[in-house]
């Protein structure tokens, strides 16, 4: 309704948030070393991925870093065809949630895979990769 009616352009604004990663910056450092890390609460033993600096269960601030083996099984997946603005230059991609042997689940991209092969229950493994100046983690088929 109303296509062709008069409008005013707002002032354009580009927002870049400086997101503090203090408290779990080691996660990003270790990614560059090829390791995907989780944190384990010293107070109650709960394992966290994504990592946290404080435990929301027992409110302890004592966390140990634990390397994840990364092997897991797909619980849910999708192939994203219509991409958001900042991913529009990427080709369509596959996203999954997989449960790792350690018990935590990881939401990440699944790469190097034939779409027809992706299914719930598929065995996958986490690996790290350097893209531009950022280290990332993603799944590949086992």
């Amino acid at each position: 309704m109303g296509i062709g009616l008069p409008f005013l352009n707002s002032k354009p604004l580009t927002l870049t948030f400086k997101i503090p990663i203090n408290g779990f910056s080691r996660f990003f450092e270790e990614l560059k070393n090829g390791r995907v890390m989780a944190t384990k609460c010293r107070g109650c033993g709960k394992l966290y991925f994504p990592p946290v600096a404080e435990c929301g269960e027992c409110f302890s601030s004592g966390m140990d870093w634990v390397e994840l083996d990364g092997e897991g099984e797909v619980e849910a997946f999708t192939h994203v065809v219509v991409r958001p603005e900042s991913f529009k230059r990427n080709p369509p991609y596959t996203l999954v949630v997989a449960r790792l042997k350690e018990g935590v689940k990881v939401f990440a991209k699944l790469s190097n895979v034939d779409l027809a092969e992706v299914r719930v229950g598929m065995k996958v493994k986490l690996k790290t990769k350097i893209v531009g100046d950022e280290a990332i983690y993603e799944f590949t088929p086992v």
Partner: protein, 393 residues
């Protein structure tokens, strides 16, 4: 125990949903508020508290403080005022806030307005803003999920576990477009067939274009009153708020127990049924959160309209049509009526009030009333927030 006061809905209004480039957020809200005020026979000066539900303030449209803009434009400046954000359940959060203001005895007349403008930005930017509305740091930043993608994850798991088929999902779109074509306020006025849904382009597999709600502009307004106010205004036989239930889910999707239902829906609905002293089988008409077709199938199960895993069967057997076991989304749902995210919760209340009064337009979609009980189920995010509201007469 503190006992809440009885609260009635005495006025509702809803704008035309769709691509509304003819109005800004203030005028769009006015369209709904004017109808609600006429319906309740009040004006802005009578309003003691206003809650505005809107999720995209400053992000999807230009106004950062829409509540003050809406209050001024609709003659309610001076009333107690807040904006409520609960993603796509912002309208229900506003309704709940206004309801509580009356129920706890602080005021006798409160208004909830839900409003969203979603077509002022280019579509990929809107997809981005909605995709960011999970956990930006751990999900969007690295992987670029969209909202259809989040629900598609659930669809893949539901299909695997229960054998739900893409055709079952398509049937939800077929039903809701059918009723949307009978609702003059709906964004989509066209019917679709199963074949058309299945042949539409993939957005995030297994969800295709016709499995997804449109990006819409719209507003809805609800006037709530105490029993004292009803006597003063000489309102008889209103629609009552029988109960509200609420819950939430983790920000990280990876911290969910499973991907075949929304726990927040289960918990919120159980609470609403308990408070309202009704059971699923008592509900004559329901508005459930069908932002994507899979969401309606999961809602059937999570709200107890059928057993877990039997949502596909329920739609296949036509039990959620008018004349079936329970009429669901006979205003077209989010799927066809449109989903201006902050407006949806109040638009559900609008539809239920019209149905419970026997005033649904067009007449073909008036639900036969047995128990005079209606239920609104409004999800924010992917079960990040949930409100369930039970109304009755």
């Amino acid at each position: 125990m503190f006992v809440l006061r009885k609260v009635a809905v005495i006025g509702v209004g809803c704008s035309k949903f769709g691509v509304r480039r003819d109005v800004n957020v203030a005028r769009l809200s006015f369209e709904a508020v004017k109808k609600a005020f006429e319906d309740a026979n009040i004006n802005g000066k009578n309003v003691e508290f206003l809650a505005v539900g809107s999720a995209g303030a400053g992000g999807l449209y230009e106004e950062v403080l829409p509540a003050v803009v809406v209050a001024e434009y609709c003659g309610m400046t001076g009333a107690g005022l807040t904006r409520c954000e609960a993603a796509c359940a912002s309208g229900s959060a506003a309704f709940f806030t206004a309801y509580m203001a009356v129920a706890n005895g602080l005021v006798d007349l409160a208004v909830a307005v839900g409003v969203e403008k979603m077509t002022e930005l280019e579509t990929p930017v809107v997809m981005e803003m909605l995709g960011r509305a999970g956990y930006y740091l751990w999900e969007f930043h690295g992987f670029g999920p969209t909202f259809p993608a989040y629900y598609a994850l659930y669809a893949s798991a539901h299909m695997e576990k229960f054998g739900t088929r893409e055709e079952d999902l398509a049937l939800v779109a077929v039903k809701n477009h059918k009723y949307g074509s009978l609702n003059p306020l709906a964004h989509f006025q066209n019917r679709v067939s199963v074949d058309e849904v299945l042949a539409s382009p993939v957005i995030a597999w297994p969800l295709k274009l016709y499995d997804c709600c449109p990006i819409s502009d719209g507003a809805a307004a609800v006037v709530l009153a105490s029993e004292d106010k009803l006597r003063e205004l000489k309102v008889e036989d209103p629609v009552w708020v029988r109960g509200v239930g609420f819950s939430s889910g983790t920000a990280n999707l990876s911290r969910r127990g499973d991907y075949v239902g929304l726990k927040a829906s289960v918990l919120a609905s159980r609470m609403a049924y308990r408070v309202a002293r009704v059971e699923p089988r008592d509900v004559d008409v329901a508005c459930v959160h069908d932002c994507f077709t899979i969401a309606e199938i999961m809602a059937y199960e999570d709200l107890g309209f059928c057993k877990k895993g039997e949502g596909g069967k329920l739609i296949r057997e036509g039990e959620t049509e008018i004349g079936g076991r329970i009429a669901v989304n006979v205003d077209g749902g989010l799927k066809a009526k449109g989903h201006p995210i902050g407006a949806t919760g109040c638009a559900m209340i609008y539809e239920l009030v019209k149905q419970l009064r026997g005033e649904a337009e067009k007449r073909e979609r008036q639900v036969p009333l047995k128990n005079y009980v209606g239920l609104a189920h409004n999800i924010g995010g992917v079960g990040h927030y949930c409100y369930v509201t039970v109304l009755g007469r």
